[in-house]
């Protein structure tokens, strides 16, 4: 069959003529461009949370922000490993991993060490570790689909899962990131926007206490821009925490 060339064109072979070149997201110095999903610059994606997604876990939560889909389960508090030394405060063990199909190019599905460390740092300040001495709480996050702003979604979802598990916390932790693209600050960036960003700022905070538990900045920022970005994030965090709270409330109401 393969020998009969020129009779019928093979439909499945990729022809080099249809190669599309993607237009850049925005041109240099362009201030008024439209975001790929049609949102305004200071507008977040609609957030969806559902607690109690995994039955086997002490607490769990599922979060969906546009195409970013994350599931987090919390196990424990349970006895620390035998090799660990005695500790009169509890331990927090975190892990963030991606599924092999989460990213546009097929990944290895391995652990994401960077995010694991960031998740730990973002949560440890919010949990009352002294309430579970000698034990460990495990927080396992799995990114089902990566659609941009993965880490902030993981962190918010993890704090919801911790609350669902009944771990004592000072406050829920909400996380939001902004990207700097050209002259604009873009909140809650999607994957395409993240890939061409000039800088990014992520804040995780406890909105009711108005305290920042973790903050990372990369790229080139002037002080007024940092101010603007932080304010934007803090406002968004406060609103996000309200959504998370209402999700928890809805879960307990339905149980009664």
């Amino acid at each position: 069959m393969a020998g009969k060339a020129g009779t019928t064109p093979t439909t499945y072979s990729p022809s080099p003529t249809t190669k599309k070149t993607k237009a850049p997201l925005f041109k240099d110095d362009d201030v008024d461009w439209v975001r790929p999903d049609g949102r305004g610059f200071p507008q977040c994606r609609p957030a969806f949370f559902r607690s109690g997604a995994v039955n086997a876990a002490s607490g769990s939560a599922y979060a969906e922000f546009g195409n970013t889909k994350v599931i987090v389960s919390v196990f424990g508090p349970r006895e620390s490993k035998k090799a660990m030394m005695y500790s009169d405060v509890g331990r927090l063990n975190c892990n963030v991993s991606y599924t092999t199909f989460a990213t546009p190019t097929r990944g290895q599905g391995s652990d994401h060490k960077e995010f694991t460390a960031m998740l730990h740092k973002a949560l440890e300040g919010a949990i009352m570790m002294e309430t579970f001495p000698k034990t460990t709480v495990d927080v396992f996050a799995l990114v089902l689909e990566s659609g941009g702003s993965d880490l902030p979604v993981v962190i918010s979802c993890a704090s919801l899962a911790l609350a669902d598990a009944g771990i004592m916390m000072y406050d829920l932790v909400a996380a939001v990131s902004v990207s700097c693209l050209g002259k604009n600050l873009v909140i809650d960036p999607i994957l395409e926007e993240e890939n061409c960003q000039d800088g990014s700022l992520m804040i995780t905070c406890m909105p009711s206490r108005y305290e920042i538990t973790q903050l990372t900045v990369t790229g080139d920022w002037s002080t007024p821009k940092i101010n603007e970005g932080m304010q934007l994030c803090l406002d968004a965090c406060a609103k996000l925490a309200k959504i998370m709270r209402s999700c928890l409330k809805a879960a307990t109401d339905s149980q009664e």
Partner: protein
């Protein structure tokens, strides 16, 4: 781990509250910085930086590679930090791994800028030899020889010094650049190009102990910290990266205050470091 008695802890905290630390410094004073360059002949550039008992080595190796398809006009830079068990017994085996990866990530965040390359201390476009085909890959390796606090600032300074010391061989491209094949390159071993290091930021870590914050904390002071914010600032006074360590939360206004303090401190640090690097380079040549 630093073992301190209750009295010692109070002494450190009280000293910081009264703006007189255990070694006689004020809250915003650095320990003296010593820089040596060109200490590793095998590398393209290297430096050793000492601040008090903290001692680190940074080396830069350049290799020819292929640029990524996403950014065909840019070279690649990677940073890796190693914590030697000679510095502290707890670094033995896998013990140093956590700290190593934390430091590597923080340095990548602070020195390499955003994904598009904006805010990067190193101009990635200058590393390209043939667009889309050949570029220089810079491998920056840091080694912690001895640790007495403030590792991140010290490593940042060592990397800056090592990059100023780096000579990248001039490359002659022989094949036609328009053809699809991988061009042949001829690496000169006599002519070297210097990297432009004026844009590389310095890292200032502000460690919060009690209600005040200090720069260049020693290991003992770090054991008393509630949180620490590392801010990298370049010569123009722009922020190139921020990371936070330590569990305690911070009020947003305190963070903004820290940023302005870090900007002020970084000016002095950049000038001090530049003169030390120039002196070290002069000594190496003589």
């Amino acid at each position: 781990m630093v073992g301190l008695s209750l009295g010692e802890k109070h002494f450190i905290q009280g000293g910081i509250a009264q703006d007189l630390r255990c070694d006689g410094r004020k809250r915003l004073t650095y320990r003296p910085i010593y820089v040596e360059t060109g200490i590793i002949p095998q590398a393209n550039g290297s430096a050793r930086v000492r601040m008090g008992a903290t001692d680190v080595i940074a080396s830069v190796k350049a290799e020819l590679g292929r640029p990524s398809s996403l950014h065909p006009d840019k070279g690649k830079v990677s940073i890796h930090i190693d914590c030697s068990p000679t510095a502290e017994p707890s670094f033995e085996g896998r013990g140093g791994e956590e700290l190593s990866s934390e430091l590597s990530v923080a340095l990548q965040l602070c020195l390499l800028g955003g994904k598009s390359g904006a805010g990067s201390g190193i101009d990635l476009r200058s590393l390209v030899v043939v667009e889309g085909k050949v570029c220089w890959d810079l491998y920056i390796d840091g080694l912690v020889v001895s640790s007495d606090g403030n590792l991140l600032d010290c490593l940042g300074a060592a990397i800056k010094a090592a990059l100023s010391n780096t000579g990248i061989p001039r490359v002659q491209v022989t094949a036609d650049p328009s053809s699809d094949e991988q061009p042949e390159v001829d690496i000169s071993d006599e002519e070297f190009l210097q990297l432009d290091t004026s844009g590389i930021p310095v890292i200032v870590t502000l460690t919060k102990v009690g209600r005040h914050y200090i720069v260049d904390a020693t290991g003992e002071e770090e054991s008393q910290m509630s949180s620490a914010v590392s801010i990298s600032v370049n010569r123009q006074g722009h922020i190139c990266g921020i990371t936070k360590r330590g569990g305690a939360g911070l009020d947003p206004s305190i963070i903004l205050d820290m940023i302005s303090v870090a900007k002020h401190v970084s000016e002095q640090l950049i000038n001090k470091l530049d003169s030390e690097i120039a002196a070290a380079e002069a000594e190496e040549e003589s």
